[in-house]
Structure formats: structure tokens, C-alpha cells
């Protein structure tokens, strides 16, 4: 609702909406520090509404106006005390100090780029000890181009200088794990520079942008915050008729559907299919949910011009059941939450049913014209990654392997026999630098098999990896069908001779495979080697983690207090411990 409202409405209703949204239960609090190169209050107010709608209550810190450098580098006490999770260095082209002078030659230009970017590198270095994620605006193109077209070419041109600085920032971000670039330049361009800048607001309030501009910046920043916390969508569920191809295949016949390059309409459907395939290639799952007979629906994807093939879909539901039932079935088949799904259908009635029946599913108003679908999906920023991990690029394959496993499972007398036959092997070890991105990502997005639902930033994970008072473990699992990747994480904290398990998570794609016993065996071995006599586990109930409720009891922990929402379990190691893993054959515990 917030995401679809215009800047005018939000400006007016901001305080009331904020009050309403703050009444929602279970808000996750995130501490965001703005280091302000201009007045950011309007952006922050919009950002707060957008995050509240997603169940996140931001707590803000604002540096003094234009003291973004000082508070990061020289006088950091107040910022340190705030303990930010995210520091947003909110600078813009107005904050560039070392513009190239008018006599700058081609060979001098690089020195200017280096000098200006070093000023920002000092900020990023200054923020490093905070252990927060640093989000840095790049620079939007200026409102004026003194040299016209030549401004993008001349070594003295500001357009040229900004482009070089932005390239330099991208290079820095690739080398610094805690630095993310917020593409202010892209946002301003998509709003249009004339509609983005407002000289009156700048002189009156030192505010960078128009209300529309501020709102677009806030939407982009909100998508980034959600991505940092792993709250991005995982699956695109697609209708078929008039969504992936033109026409109704059941009525018109498979030869008559519009797809390919022959007409403008067919080309538009082809372009949308290509876009979906690109999403899949970077790790977004595709599924079909269509009112059709399955056999006829499949023929559409066998059309010689179809870009998408049956194999590209991790789940295929074409039948006459209500679509919300099918979407629930897709979520459960893929082991993902309904809130990980985006549903695209040209039919407004179907969209409305899904919105009403499954409010957790994102249902963008894509309209009925396929040529607009991509724009609407892009504007929704549903699939924004912070980084692309190797896991992402392999994900669609892994889900397909899961489908093979399920088919295989049907051939066994009992479950034990099935587990035995999977020829599983695991690797369990303390956090390693190469896996920190994946560990952070898994922590951010695991909601179901998550005992405490605590979230950690990458910086926090990195700190835990080297903290001698913590025991951290990750687990990877391979079987005869393929590599499941890194799918489980434990974070324990030592207090005297007790280990408190602050976090235990596991990806649902390896549920009921015995992976938790491997993890516990490894954890106990590590505890014993460090003289720890008791492990204490916690289950903090949420709306999503019901399937982990019996976790500790099943592993032999004894319930010892707490209420139903916050249960405490103990495992006494002083009487010895019998390893519990049965089916996972070889495991490396380093």
C-alpha cells in the first residue's frame, strides 16, 4: 500500500501512517545511521514507512548537516555509541569537493579522481571498526552541464568526473566486503534529472530532491535494506495464457498462441519470457500457476518459439483448482515461504483473489499488457541482491535436483532406507572467510528452521568467526544427486562452562535428512575439546518457525524453563555424549 502511494499522499499522511504501522506486532528493529551530505529527513521518513510495511522498525541516527566526514573520521563517539547496523553515507554530487579545475588536462584528471575518492575511502576506513554495513551513495549527474555534450568528454567536465568517480566507487565496493553502493545515479536518472532536482528546496532546506525524487530514493534504499537482511523474493510464479504467451491455448490451440518474432505482440511475450529466464539464471526460481489442463499447458512451452522450457520451472501447476491453493502447494513443494513469492497474472480478478487470500504473496499490478510487465516488476525491486553468490547461480539447478530426490524417495520401503541410499556426506567446520557471504545470506533469509530468528550483518558474522568466546559452525551437505551447498549454521556463545546457542538455522531444502545430528555431533565435539559441560538451546516462537519447535527435544535436550514463546533446553555433557548421526557417511570436522 505504501509502495504504491504517491509522494503527495505520503507527505500528508506520513505521521498517521507511521503511527498505524507501528502497531503491527513483531517488528524487527534495525539501527540505521545517516551521515548527511544534505537534509535527509524526507528520505528517512519515506524509508521508515516502506520498511514498517515490511515489518521493520528502523531506528535512525542523523549526523549533523554536512558533517558526514567529521562524524565518520574525526569525532565518532556519538556514532559508536549508537551501534548502527547500517551506516548510510548519504552524499551526492553537491558534496564533491575536488572538482577538476578548468585547466585540467587528460593526464591530470586521474589525480583528481584519486584525491576525491580517497576522501571517501577515509570515511569507509573510519567506519570499519563499527562492524556495520556501510551503504554509500554514488553520485547523480549534475543539474547543469556547463559544457553541454562536451561535459561528458572533457577532462574538466563534471559529467565526465562523476562517471569516473562512480566507476572508482564500484571498484572499491568490489574490494571491501562491508561496503555497498547505493545507485543514487540510477535512481535520479530513472526519475529524470529535471524532476529529481529542485533548486528551491536546496536553497530553502538543503534538501537534494523533489518529494517524488526523495520517494524513489527511499524505495531504492528500502530494497537495499531488505536485501541486506535477506528479505528478497525467491520465486516468480507465472500465469500462462496472456502472460507468457498471447491467446488462450485451450481455446486457440497450441499453434495459434502468440510467441516468437512474427508480430509486435509475439515479440513482447518473447521479451517477457527472456526476462524471466534471465531472472532464473541469476537464481530466482520460476513456477507456473495456470488454469488449464496440464497436458495442454505443457504444449505451450513445447512451442518451437518458446524461450522458456518445461525444465526451467521448478514447479508446474496447471489445473482447475483455485490459484491460491496452487500457490500454497508451490510454496510447500519448493520449501519457501509465501512471502518469498511474486505472482504475475494478466487477469485482475486472479490477482485480487491472491492478494485477498494470500496477503504475504507480492502481487504487482502488472496490468493486462505484456509490454508493461517488466517495468512493473523492476519498479517493485523484488529480487534485489546485495551480491551474487555462487549459490545463487546454482539455485535453480539445486531445486530441480530436489524434485529428482522426491521422485526417488517414492521407490523405498521406508525412510531409513531412503536416507541410506542418498549417499550423503557433509562438511562441518568453523566459519571460514570464503563462506561469510553465504552464511550471512542464509541467516538473513531463513525463517522456518530458525530456532531464534536472530539476524546478523556480515560484519557481525565476521566478528563472530574470530571471537574466541564464540563457537561457530557451518554445514554443507552433498548427496548422490548433487551438492546442496552450505545449508546450516550454528552460533554459540560461551559463558563459563556453558555454551548458549544464539542461532541454529537450517535450509528447508535439507529438512529431515539427519543434518541436525551431524551439526550437533560436531558442536559437542568442539565443546568437549574446550571443556564445556553444558549446551543450552533456545526456541523463540515466531509465526514462521513452528517446524523447528521439536528440534531440541528430538536431539535429547531437556526442557528447562521459559514459557511457550521462549523455551529453554539443556544438554548435559558431563555424563558423556553418544554421537547421533546415522546416515551421513563421511563428515569432515576440522
Amino acid at each position: 500500500m505504501i509502495a504504491n502511494a504517491g509522494a503527495v499522499v505520503l507527505l500528508r499522511k506520513q505521521k498517521g501512517l507511521r503511527r498505524e504501522l507501528q502497531n503491527r506486532p513483531n517488528l524487527l528493529s534495525i539501527r540505521i545511521a545517516f551521515l548527511c551530505g544534505s537534509t535527509v529527513n524526507e528520505v528517512a521518513a519515506f524509508l521508515e514507512l516502506l520498511l514498517l510495511e515490511q515489518g521493520i522498525q528502523p531506528v535512525f541516527y542523523f549526523s549533523d548537516y554536512n558533517k558526514y566526514f567529521e562524524e565518520a573520521v574525526l569525532d565518532t563517539a556519538r556514532l559508536v555509541e549508537f551501534k548502527p547496523d547500517i551506516v548510510f553515507v548519504y552524499t551526492s554530487s553537491t558534496n564533491i569537493q575536488g572538482w577538476p579545475l578548468l585547466d585540467t588536462s587528460e593526464s591530470d584528471l586521474n589525480a583528481y579522481v584519486v584525491a576525491e575518492s580517497m576522501r571517501f575511502a577515509a570515511i569507509w576506513n573510519g567506519l570499519q571498526p563499527l562492524g556495520a554495513v556501510v551503504v554509500q551513495n554514488n553520485f547523480e549527474l549534475p543539474a547543469q552541464r556547463l559544457l553541454g555534450n562536451y561535459d561528458a568528454v572533457s577532462p574538466t567536465g563534471r559529467v565526465r568526473f562523476i562517471n569516473l568517480l562512480n566507476t572508482e566507487f564500484a571498484r572499491e565496493a568490489a574490494a571491501r566486503t562491508n561496503l555497498l553502493i547505493h545507485d543514487l545515479n540510477g535512481v535520479a536518472a530513472s526519475v529524470g534529472l529535471k524532476a529529481f532536482h529542485d533548486a528551491g528546496r536546496w536553497f530553502s532546506y538543503k534538501m537534494l530532491a523533489t518529494p517524488e525524487g526523495s520517494l524513489e530514493v527511499a524505495k531504492s534504499a528500502a530494497a537495499m535494506v531488505l536485501a541486506i537482511y535477506g528479505r528478497t523474493k525467491k520465486c516468480l510464479v507465472l500465469d500462462l495464457d496472456n502472460t507468457l504467451w498471447g491467446g488462450v491455448i485451450g481455446d486457440d490451440g497450441p499453434e495459434q498462441i502468440k510467441i516468437g518474432r512474427e508480430t509486435a505482440e509475439a515479440e513482447a511475450f518473447t521479451a517477457f519470457q527472456e526476462y524471466c529466464l534471465q531472472l532464473r539464471s541469476r537464481g530466482i526460481l520460476l513456477a507456473v500457476c495456470s488454469k488449464n489442463s496440464e497436458e495442454i499447458a505443457r504444449q505451450g512451452l513445447e512451442h518451437p518459439d518458446s524461450v522458456l522450457l518445461l525444465d526451467h520451472f521448478s514447479c508446474f501447476k496447471a489445473n482447475w483448482e483455485p490459484k491460491h491453493e496452487n500457490i500454497k502447494a508451490i510454496a510447500s513443494a519448493l520449501n519457501i515461504g509465501l512471502d518469498s513469492i511474486v505472482f504475475v497474472d494478466d487477469n485482475p480478478a486472479e490477482r485480487e483473489i491472491i492478494s485477498a487470500q494470500l496477503p504475504a504473496v507480492a502481487v504487482p499490478d502488472v496490468g493486462s499488457d505484456v509490454s508493461g510487465f517488466i517495468r512493473v516488476l523492476e519498479d517493485g525491486r523484488y529480487f534485489e541482491p546485495v551480491r551474487l553468490s555462487r549459490e545463487d547461480l546454482k539455485r535453480a539447478e539445486q531445486y530441480q535436483e530436489n524434485a529428482q530426490r522426491a521422485a526417488f524417495q517414492g521407490r523405498f520401503q521406508n525412510y531409513d532406507e531412503y536416507l541410506e541410499s542418498l549417499e550423503m556426506s557433509a562438511e562441518v567446520a568453523a566459519f571460514k572467510p570464503v563462506y561469510l557471504d553465504r552464511i550471512t545470506q542464509l541467516i538473513g533469509k531463513t525463517n522456518q528452521f530458525n530456532l531464534t530468528t536472530r539476524r546478523y550483518t556480515r560484519a557481525q558474522v565476521e566478528a563472530i568467526a574470530t571471537d574466541p568466546s564464540c563457537i561457530s559452525l557451518y554445514g554443507k551437505l552433498t548427496d548422490k544427486f548433487g551438492d546442496n551447498g552450505l545449508i546450516s549454521v550454528i552460533i554459540g556463545r560461551k559463558e563459563n562452562d556453558i555454551l548458549h546457542i544464539d542461532l541454529w538455522i537450517m535450509s528447508c531444502r535439507v529438512l529431515k535428512r539427519g543434518m541436525e545430528t551431524v551439526m550437533l555431533d560436531a558442536l559437542v565435539a568442539e565443546c568437549q575439546s574446550q571443556g564445556i559441560g553444558e549446551i543450552r538451546g533456545y526456541y523463540i516462537q515466531t509465526e514462521r518457525n513452528g517446524l523447528a519447535a521439536g528440534h531440541y527435544a528430538a536431539l535429547g535436550f531437556k526442557r528447562s524453563g521459559g514459557d511457550d514463546q521462549h523455551q529453554v533446553f539443556r544438554l548435559d555433557l558431563s555424563q558423556g555424549y553418544q554421537p547421533q548421526n546415522k546416515y551421513i557417511k563421511e563428515y569432515v570436522h576440522e
Binding site: A7, V8, L11, R12, K13, Q14, K15, G16, R19, N41, E42, G200, R201, F203, S204, Y205, M207, P211
Partner: protein, 80 residues
């Protein structure tokens, strides 16, 4: 009682989040709760957008109370 005052009433109530607020021509930041500098920016921006008018820097600097704003708006709306 001008019509503009009546039209401003709900905008002030929304922006300042006070459904019972009664503004008058004499109301100003000094007399109305929550009318701080940020709320002021929101008020000006919301009014500009709702009425499709634009205040200049010098006009904004002259405003002392709601009455001043209404007079200025009347001029601008008449000139449209």
C-alpha cells in the same frame, strides 16, 4: 472565513497528525503543537502539490502565520 482555510484544515491535521486540530488565520509554528521545521517543509510541500502552486524563496521567508499563507495562496490561485 475563507474557503482556503477550510481546505487547509485537513492538510494541517494530516501533516501534523492531530485529527482535532483547528487552525485559524492567526495559527503559526509558535502556537501549534508539532509544527517544527520538518513539519513546516512537509506542510509547504504538501500545499504546493495539492494546489499545484509554487512558493518562491522570498515568499516563504515572509510567511508569519496561516493568514499570510492564505493571502499568498489567494493571489497565486487568482493568477492561474
Amino acid at each position: 472565513m475563507s474557503d482556503i482555510l477550510a481546505e487547509l484544515q485537513p492538510i494541517f491535521r494530516d501533516v501534523l497528525d492531530d485529527p482535532a486540530l483547528q487552525i485559524t488565520r492567526q495559527s503559526s509554528a509558535a502556537t501549534v503543537a508539532n509544527w517544527d521545521s520538518l513539519a513546516h517543509i512537509n506542510l509547504v510541500s504538501a500545499i504546493e502539490q495539492e494546489f499545484h502552486i509554487r512558493f518562491s524563496l522570498s515568499e516563504l521567508a515572509e510567511l508569519k502565520n496561516v493568514g499570510d499563507m492564505i493571502d499568498l495562496m489567494e493571489q497565486k490561485l487568482a493568477a492561474k
